[in-house]
């Protein structure tokens, strides 16, 4: 009984995926339209895409832009968020700016950015950067703000300067919250990556998807959706594994497995 439960818990994510594909398969067979291929057809189209050199170059170009956009955003947003969290002045300056940018869909800025910077890598990377920045800034801000004053005082008594306290106390103390923001940011990077390529069609995973859509190759469209989804799951699982290792000191002992790691 215990063993069975353990096996079911282990396999639950897999069973959920299979269930979803099953429903898809049945629904597609019932509806029977060209624009909704069956799950099997879509899966069958995947090797063709991954086997094609052109497609692989496109997908790798997407991932590269995503990595650069995400990396830059994290490097800027964490220090900014933490400083906002520790200094009322800095927060008062940046908060109104962020409040204006926050509700704007970052992909909606894409046409303007394209106008200024062209349709190349710079524009797309910038949009990814913007998409990732806000959740990371917000969570770093909250994390920095929540750092116990007495912890900083303890550090000060040991002789840590203000800058050392920022790097060696505020940063690690806020790390669980920062990484929560980074996890959201990572998914947003994937989303803005695809949308930016939808608007500025030139290369990338989004480009393959929307070109296939234009040409009515619906199995390729759905295969790309599966590939992008799988990339998201893979990246998130890898990130969760890293996060778990970095902040195991803050995790409750018995945690619900929320990811596939």
């Amino acid at each position: 009984m215990m063993l069975l439960r353990a096996v079911v818990t282990r396999l639950a994510p897999l069973l959920a995926c299979l269930g979803l594909l099953g429903i898809w398969q049945v629904a597609a067979l019932i509806l029977d339209t060209d624009s909704f291929p069956t799950a099997l057809d879509a899966i069958r189209a995947i090797p063709a895409i991954l086997g094609d050199k052109e497609s692989l170059i496109n997908i790798l170009a997407s991932l590269r832009r995503m990595a650069i956009g995400f990396g830059l955003a994290v490097m800027v947003s964490i220090p900014l968020g933490l400083m906002m969290g520790r200094s009322r002045g800095v927060a008062a300056f940046f908060n109104p700016l962020l409040m204006i940018i926050y509700p704007v869909p970052k992909a909606a800025l894409m046409p303007i950015i394209m106008l200024w910077l062209g349709v190349g890598d710079v524009s797309k990377t910038l949009v990814i950067f913007l998409g990732v920045s806000l959740p990371v800034i917000y969570h770093s801000f909250e994390g920095g703000k929540a750092v116990e004053e007495k912890m900083l005082w303890s550090g000060a008594a040991m002789g840590l300067s203000a800058a050392q306290r920022m790097i060696r106390i505020v940063l690690p103390a806020a790390l669980p919250e920062i990484l929560t923001g980074c996890r959201t940011g990572l998914v947003l990077a994937l989303i803005t990556m695809v949308t930016s390529e939808m608007i500025a069609r030139q290369s990338g995973a989004g480009n393959i998807l929307f070109n296939a859509l234009d040409m009515g190759q619906y199995d390729t469209v759905f295969a790309m959706i599966i590939i992008i989804g799988a990339m998201g799951i893979g990246l998130d699982a890898a990130f969760e594994k890293m996060r778990g290792r970095l902040v195991k000191w803050s995790e409750p002992r018995f945690d619900l497995p929320l990811s596939f790691s």
Partner: protein, 258 residues
């Protein structure tokens, strides 16, 4: 020696009103003395400790340590807070080693020292535990070891046992006294428990409620080393506790009248 000279502290409250937390406090603490600051909550006793720690700047007056005005925190004054304030991302050993490492002590030496301290506060075997895995009493033991590790001349204890249950509290009081008997550091100890103050201290500074003023300084001339079981039956101890409790009752009545 710590000299507190006519120190006043005014806080701005949310409604832009100013609140006088401490009024004209003057107090001298001799080296090696165990001095408790006792008073009702909100009398500014913790604020006074934070001023000596250099964490809070007094609005008026000056606090001096060995003749030099205190302008900020420093490793000569080690705080122990009610909230423990341990570094949760560091193990017990990592927490205790943090101060010595910051002071430039070599890793191996800092580790050996820290292991000895951890044993002294009764936590041998818990070196690799994270703070969240420890009980409140154990956390406070780690906090005490972490502060002792960088050899401050003065211990600043801010209601250190306030968050603990009665049994744990008693054990930590006993252990603190034992540790203190060894090297007789200067201790400034903030508490609202009369028994705790009398049991531990050479001198008890009784404060009035807002604005915080010194009402009376009581010398506790009970012999040392003190044993709790003997002390509880000692009529001198009992009288001191009752006397000080009366003083505090008086200050509460003063407050009701105004």
């Amino acid at each position: 020696m710590i000299e507190i000279d006519r120190v006043s502290q005014v806080f701005q409250t949310a409604g832009r009103q100013s609140h006088l937390a401490l009024s004209q406090i003057s107090l001298t603490i001799e080296d090696g003395a165990f001095v408790s600051i006792l008073g009702p909550s909100g009398c500014g006793k913790s604020t006074l400790l934070y001023i000596v720690g250099g964490f809070v700047k007094p609005t008026d007056g000056v606090a001096k340590m060995r003749g030099k005005a205190i302008t900020g925190p420093g490793p000569d004054r080690g705080p122990v807070f009610q909230e423990f304030a341990l570094f949760p991302w560091k193990s017990v050993l990592g927490n205790v080693m943090y101060g010595p490492r910051q002071q430039g002590v070599k890793h191996a030496e800092a580790e050996a020292q820290s292991r000895r301290l951890i044993e002294m506060v009764g936590l041998k075997g818990f070196e690799d535990f994270y703070p969240k895995e420890l009980s409140g009493g154990m956390k406070q033991r780690v906090a005490l070891a972490r502060t002792l590790a960088y050899h401050p001349a003065v211990l600043l204890m801010d209601e250190p046992f306030g968050a603990l249950d009665a049994h744990t509290r008693t054990r930590l009081q006993n252990d603190l006294l034992n540790i203190w008997e060894r090297d007789r550091k200067t201790v400034l100890f903030v508490t609202h428990s009369v028994e705790e103050a009398v049991y531990l201290s050479d001198k008890v500074v009784v404060m009035t409620r807002s604005p915080g003023r010194i009402k009376e300084i009581v010398d506790i001339d009970l012999p040392r080393p003190r044993r709790r079981a003997e002390l509880l039956l000692d009529s001198r101890y009992q009288k001191l506790v009752v006397d000080i409790e009366r003083m505090i009752d008086d200050t509460s009545e003063d407050e009701l009248r105004t």
